[in-house]
C-alpha cells in the first residue's frame, strides 16, 4: 500500500521588539538567569499586562506579507495550564479571534513545480521561561518569559520532510525581509511544533496525528519528520495503529520517542483576558502599515532576472538577503554588465564578507565604487586579476578604483606599439612553439600569449595580444 503524509506546522516566531510583550523588560538574549524580569513577567500578585504596540504591528505586517486577512476585531485570551516555566500558570494568547486569518506561502518543489501551503491563522502570545536541569531538580530562568511570539499555524498541506523544509526556509526568508524577526535559530527565534499523520492513497480522512514539540532547527525538523513519517508508515504496514501522542526528537539517536511525562487531558479553559482590551484595526491603520511592505523574495527574484538579465541561480543567491539584493541592484544599475556585477558580488564580495564575519552593511565599498571596478574590467583598462588586487585594497581601505589603479600603475597596456614589441620578442624567443602553432597546434597560441603577458608583467590587454599574435603568425 502507498501512503501520503499530511504535515501541519505551528511555527513560533520571536518578534523583533525592544521589550517584552506585556512589560518593559528588554528581550536581551543570553543575560544571566532572572535578570530581565519584573513583577509582570514573573507573574507576581497584582501585576498586570500592558500590550506592546510593536508586537501588534509586526504581526499584522507579517500577515500582510503572507497574504492573510487581517481580522478587524481581535482579542486576547487566557489559556490555562500549569507548567513551571509559565509564571502565571496561564498563557496570554489568542483563541477564537486571532490577528490574522488564512494566507499562504508558495514553495518550490524538487521537480521545479510550485505548491501553495495554506495558513490557518497567525496569533500573538507570550513566550515561557527556560528550564534547566540539575541532578535532582530543575531550575527556571524567566528572562525569556513574556517575549513576544507570533504563532503561524499552517494547514496540513505539507506532504513531506522536503516540503516542510522548503516551507520553513521560505518563511524565514520572508520574515527576515519584513524585518519582523531576527529569525536567529541559534537564539531560539524560530521554533516549531510539527503535527504529522499518514493515510493510504485514496483515503480522504486524515490519519491519526502525532506531535513533535519545540523543534528549533530546520535540520532537526527535516530529520525528525523523515523518521516519523517512515515510522508511521511502517507501523501501519505492520498492521499497527498510530497513537495520538506528543513525541520528542532525540537528535543524537536520530529517533522520535513518546514523551515520558504523563499524557494530560488538555482542557485549556480559554476565556477572554479581562486585563487586556480588544484590538480593533481600521482599514486606514492597516493600509498605513501596508505602505512599508517590502517586495517579497519570490517577486524580487523574478524581477531581478527580468530587469538585469541575470540567471535564476544568481537571483536565488542574491535575493536571499534583502541587503545583498539592494546592494546588487544599486551596483548593477551603474555597471556596464549586470552579470559581471552579479559575479563579483556572489563570489568575491560575499566570500570576503563571510571570511571576515562582516555584514554587507559594514562593507567599505559603495555600490558605485564596485560598479566602477566592474566597468574598468569591462572597458579593459585592467584585467580580472588586477581587478582582484584593486578589490582587496578597496575592501581593506575603501577608495575609488580609478585612483587606486592610477596610483599603483596597474592600468592595462593597450598601446599597440608597446604590445607589438613584446609580441615580437616572444615570437623570436620561442621558435619551437611558433612552429607548433603553424603546424596546426592551436594550444601553442595560448603558450605564446602567456609569454607576452609575462613580458608585459601582466599589464598587456590579452585581447590585443591575441589579435596581434594571430596576425603576425598568419
Amino acid at each position: 500500500m502507498n501512503f501520503v503524509a499530511n504535515i501541519g506546522l505551528e511555527v513560533h516566531v520571536q518578534l523583533k521588539t525592544r521589550t517584552k510583550i506585556f512589560c518593559g523588560c528588554p528581550t536581551t538574549f543570553g543575560a544571566p538567569p532572572n535578570t530581565r524580569v519584573c513583577p509582570v513577567c514573573l507573574g507576581y500578585p497584582g501585576a498586570m499586562p500592558a500590550m506592546n504596540s510593536e508586537a501588534i504591528r509586526l504581526t499584522v505586517f507579517s500577515g500582510l506579507m503572507l497574504g492573510c486577512k487581517i481580522n478587524p476585531y481581535s482579542k486576547m485570551d487566557r489559556k490555562n495550564y500549569y507548567y513551571p516555566d509559565m509564571p502565571k500558570n496561564y498563557q496570554i494568547s489568542q483563541y477564537d479571534q486571532p490577528l490574522c486569518l488564512g494566507g499562504g506561502i508558495e514553495i518550490k518543489l524538487a521537480d521545479g513545480s510550485k505548491k501553495m501551503i495554506g495558513l490557518t491563522r497567525i496569533h500573538i502570545e507570550e513566550d515561557v521561561g527556560k528550564n534547566m536541569h540539575f541532578a535532582a531538580s530543575s531550575g527556571i530562568d524567566f528572562n525569556r518569559a513574556g517575549t513576544p511570539l507570533m504563532e503561524i499555524v499552517t494547514e496540513p498541506d505539507i506532504a513531506s520532510a522536503d516540503e516542510a523544509l522548503a516551507f520553513l526556509e521560505a518563511l524565514k526568508e520572508i520574515l527576515a525581509y519584513g524585518g519582523v524577526s531576527d529569525v536567529n535559530l541559534e537564539e531560539g527565534n524560530l521554533r516549531c511544533d510539527v503535527n504529522s499523520s499518514v493515510r493510504p492513497v485514496g483515503q480522504d480522512k486524515l490519519g491519526t496525528k502525532t506531535e513533535l514539540k519545540n523543534m528549533n532547527t530546520f535540520k532537526g525538523v527535516y530529520r525528525a519528520l523523515s523518521y516519523e513519517i517512515t515510522r508511521q508508515i511502517s507501523e501501519l504496514e505492520k498492521g499497527g495503529r498510530i497513537r495520538q501522542e506528543t513525541r520528542r526528537w532525540d537528535d543524537l539517536a536520530g529517533v522520535t520517542l513518546a514523551m515520558r511525562s504523563k499524557e494530560e487531558a488538555h482542557d485549556y479553559r480559554y476565556f477572554p483576558e479581562p486585563d487586556l482590551l480588544p484590538i480593533v484595526l481600521t482599514p486606514a491603520q492597516i493600509d498605513d502599515w501596508a505602505r512599508a511592505l517590502p517586495e517579497l523574495p519570490e517577486n524580487r527574484r523574478a524581477r531581478m532576472m527580468r530587469d538585469y538579465g541575470i540567471p535564476e541561480y544568481d537571483a536565488n543567491v542574491l535575493a536571499v538577503d534583502q541587503a545583498v539584493a539592494n546592494y546588487f541592484e544599486a551596483t548593477a544599475k551603474l555597471s556596464k554588465s549586470a552579470k559581471s556585477a552579479s559575479n563579483w558580488i556572489m563570489t568575491t564580495v560575499l566570500a570576503k564578507l563571510t571570511e571576515q564575519h562582516l555584514a554587507i552593511g559594514e562593507l567599505k565599498i559603495t555600490p558605485a565604487q564596485l560598479a566602477s571596478l566592474v566597468n574598468l574590467v569591462e572597458v579593459k583598462i585592467i584585467n580580472i586579476s588586477t581587478a582582484k588586487e584593486v578589490f582587496e585594497i578597496m575592501f581593506a581601505q575603501g577608495g575609488e578604483p580609478e585612483e587606486i589603479v592610477k596610483a599603483k600603475g596597474l592600468a592595462q597596456v593597450s598601446d599597440t606599439g608597446a604590445i607589438e614589441k613584446f609580441v615580437d620578442e616572444a615570437i623570436a624567443a620561442n621558435a619551437k612553439t611558433v612552429a607548433d602553432y603553424k603546424g596546426g597546434k592551436e594550444a601553442a597560441l595560448k603558450a605564446l600569449i602567456g609569454q607576452v603577458m609575462k613580458l608585459s608583467k601582466g599589464k598587456a590587454n590579452p585581447g590585443l595580444v591575441n589579435d596581434l599574435l594571430k596576425r603576425k603568425l598568419s
Binding site: T19, G24, A50, S53, S138, G139, I140, R269, L277
Partner: protein, 101 residues
Amino acid sequence: MTSAENKPSGRIDVRYVAHLARMHLADDEIARLQPQLEQIVGYVRQLNELNVEGIEPTAHAIPVQNVFRADEVRECLDHDAAMKNAPLAREGQFIVPKIIE
C-alpha cells in the same frame, strides 16, 4: 481521569476538577465540597430560564479598545529582589522538583 465532558450535567466530578486546578484535595474535603458545589451549580442553572440568543457576551465592563504601550524599556527588578521571595533557589534560578520530559 475522565473528561469533564463525559459527566452528566448537575453532577460535578470534584476530584477531576480539583485535579485540573492542581489542588490535591483529601477525601473528606471532596465529600464536604461535593454537595455545596452541586447546590451552587443548581442555583446558577436558573440562568437557563433566560433566552440569550443574539445577546453579545460582556467580557469587559468598559467599552474601550486598543490600549497599547510603546515599545520602551523600563527598569527590571534587580536580580536579588527577584529571587528574594523564592522558596527555593540555586544559581540564580527558581528551583522546582525535577521536570521529566
